[in-house]
């Protein structure tokens, strides 16, 4: 091997070694230094409706508001099957953000990925930290409940762009509609010395809303609990500590 080729390899070798040493481990865990937001998080309050951070109601277009009212009436009359609850299909985004169940953030830094894994319906989101989202046309070939996510760091804040949704779930647990044009931008950061995680999500869906709007979710860091199995129709975690959850 020539010196010239060695010269190009050395920075990578040094970076790999430094990353490994920084991780205190091994190249399997080696990674560039980024904020650590990994862990288990759990909300302390629940509201079936996702409301704008500014107060009031989401800016529905008239036809979308009509659909929302119909959804609510049909859900109340059991004419509409909420399959996220009956067959435990994925809640999608942003609905999963308001779940009264905990979730986990796993930072697979050596792979350039962050995983958000929700206890409810064991929904997995894989956030690609290396490439931006492909164009919507590509994503809509394979739409998902949880969409497709790509992220980057803005200082201590993880910014996640998600698009490529299907329209088979509600926007929230009250029956709010959304279309496959939905796009969300989440800004996730730790607050209060890491005791709290904040997720501020901006919702863009020109089919349903007259303008973009933003909601905020706050979770407690819970290193004392683990995510547990969730199988549809079985008894699950006790949610009595989550304010706003009504026993069914």
């Amino acid at each position: 091997m020539t010196y010239h080729r060695i010269q190009h390899l050395l920075p990578a070798v040094a970076a790999l070694a430094l990353g490994a040493l920084a991780a205190g481990q091994n190249p399997v865990h080696a990674a560039p230094a980024v904020p650590d937001i990994s862990g288990v998080y759990w909300t302390t309050s629940y509201n079936p409706r996702i409301d704008p951070i500014t107060g009031g109601s989401p800016p529905y277009k008239p036809e979308a508001m009509a659909q929302y009212k119909k959804n609510m009436a049909d859900l109340a009359a059991s004419k509409l099957d909420d399959r996220a609850r009956s067959y435990c299909l994925p809640d999608g985004v942003p609905r999963a953000l308001e779940s009264p169940y905990p979730f986990e953030i796993v930072q697979a830094l050596n792979r350039g990925e962050i995983y958000l894994i929700y206890e409810i319906n064991h929904m997995i989101r894989r956030v690609d930290m290396q490439k931006p989202l492909p164009p919507d046309k590509e994503l809509q070939v394979l739409p998902f409940y949880a969409g497709h996510s790509a992220g980057h760091w803005d200082g201590n804040t993880l910014v996640i762009e998600t698009a490529g949704f299907n329209d088979a779930t509600f926007l929230d647990n009250s029956g709010a509609p959304h279309s496959d044009q939905l796009r969300t931008t989440e800004r996730i950061r730790r607050l209060d010395d890491g005791k709290i995680l904040e997720d501020v999500v901006t919702i863009h869906d020109p089919v349903v809303f007259t303008k973009d709007w933003t909601a905020r979710f706050v979770y407690q860091a819970r290193p004392d609990i683990r995510i547990v199995d969730y199988n549809c129709g079985e008894k699950h975690r006790d949610l009595s500590s989550v304010k706003g959850v009504r026993p069914q």
Binding site: Y3, H4, Q7, L10, P11, A14, L18, L21, A22, A23, G24, Q25, N26, V28, H29, S38, D82, R83, R85, S86, Y87, C88, L89, P90, V106, Q107, A108, N110, R111, Y115, I117, I120, H122, M123, I124, R125, R126, D128, K131, L142, F144, Y145, A146, G147, H148, S149, G164, R226, I227, V228, D229, N231, C232, G233, E234, H236, L239, V245, R246, Q248
Partner: protein, 290 residues
């Protein structure tokens, strides 16, 4: 002008100094305690690159080479092609009488034409160790310093392994139980699982078990990390006359995985929302959790 070779030497020198400066302190070993080799302390890489792991060698346990016991329960092909569901050979001396009776009864139903219950095929969790034998979908392994996650594309089923911690005093019972683990020899992940409910499958032959089930899985990289095999050790004094072992093999799949998690939702894949006559209904909640 600095020559390329001088640049290379300078870069080498700088990198070496940086590495030395960041190196952990040297620990002096006693003469009785040989320093473990770097290889033995290395953490094996189960990430499989951009591929996913797929089951190799069929959806049944193979006998572990050198194992002198009777080996895992096997199946028979004598009812094929009329009967395609697995039919177990139940004369394995490992089976306690009640377990043999349960399997004989299940065999009779399958031979009579009933659809055999296979948990992951009907959207139930695959359980430990049964999910290893689900052939239809790939999996990936996510490693962090504290946790290893086995993520199955099928229904996003997950087995979590907590590293270098003891079992809980009261783990309860669930489909995947409580798995703890550690690395060995630079190429192996050892996973110890208890707290398994009696509902999760052990294999495709409907071999039953009790809540006394204790499973130790040794995931060992082979072929330079391109494959791995799992030596599954099963103890259940409530169902078997002795502990037994089985071998499962995985290899990297052909296709690269997608950048984003590819949802494969069992309950919407036709057999969930469109009932299959004679099959166990897929999991369904008759009332909401919240």
């Amino acid at each position: 002008m600095i020559s390329t070779s001088r640049l290379a030497r300078r870069a080498a020198s700088s990198a070496f100094v940086v590495i030395l400066a960041c190196a952990p302190p040297v620990i002096v070993q006693s003469a009785e305690t040989p320093a473990p080799s770097a290889k033995a302390n290395a953490i094996p890489d189960f990430s499989s690159g951009r591929k996913m792991w797929v089951l190799a060698g069929g959806p049944t346990y193979q006998k572990v080479p050198g194992d002198k016991g009777p080996g895992p329960v096997t199946g028979t092909n004598k009812y094929r092609p009329k009967i395609v569901d697995p039919v177990a050979v139940t004369d394995n001396p490992l089976l306690q009488p009640w377990a043999k009776k349960v399997m004989d009864d299940a065999n009779r139903k399958v031979i009579a034409g009933e659809i055999a219950f296979n948990a992951p095929s009907r959207c139930f969790p695959g359980g430990v160790p049964g999910i290893l034998l689900f052939p239809g979908e790939p999996m990936e392994i996510l490693q962090t310093p504290k946790e290893v996650l086995l993520l199955w594309k099928r229904d996003a089923q997950i087995q979590r392994v907590y590293l270098d911690v003891p079992h809980s005093k009261n783990p309860g019972y669930s489909w995947y139980g409580e798995s703890i683990g550690h690395y060995e020899n630079g190429d192996t992940l050892v996973v110890d699982t208890i707290g398994l409910d009696d509902k999760g499958p052990l294999d495709r032959f409907r071999t039953p078990h009790t809540r006394q089930l204790h499973v130790v899985e040794r995931f060992k990289l082979t072929d330079g990390g391109k494959k791995f095999e799992v030596e599954v050790h099963i103890e259940d004094p409530g169902a078997f006359t002795a502990p037994w072992n089985g071998l499962v093999k995985f290899e990297r799949g052909y296709d690269e995985r997608t950048d984003h998690w590819e949802e494969d939702i069992c309950a919407e894949a036709g057999d969930g929302l469109i009932p299959v006559p004679g099959a166990v209904p897929v999991p369904h909640a008759t009332k909401r959790d919240f």
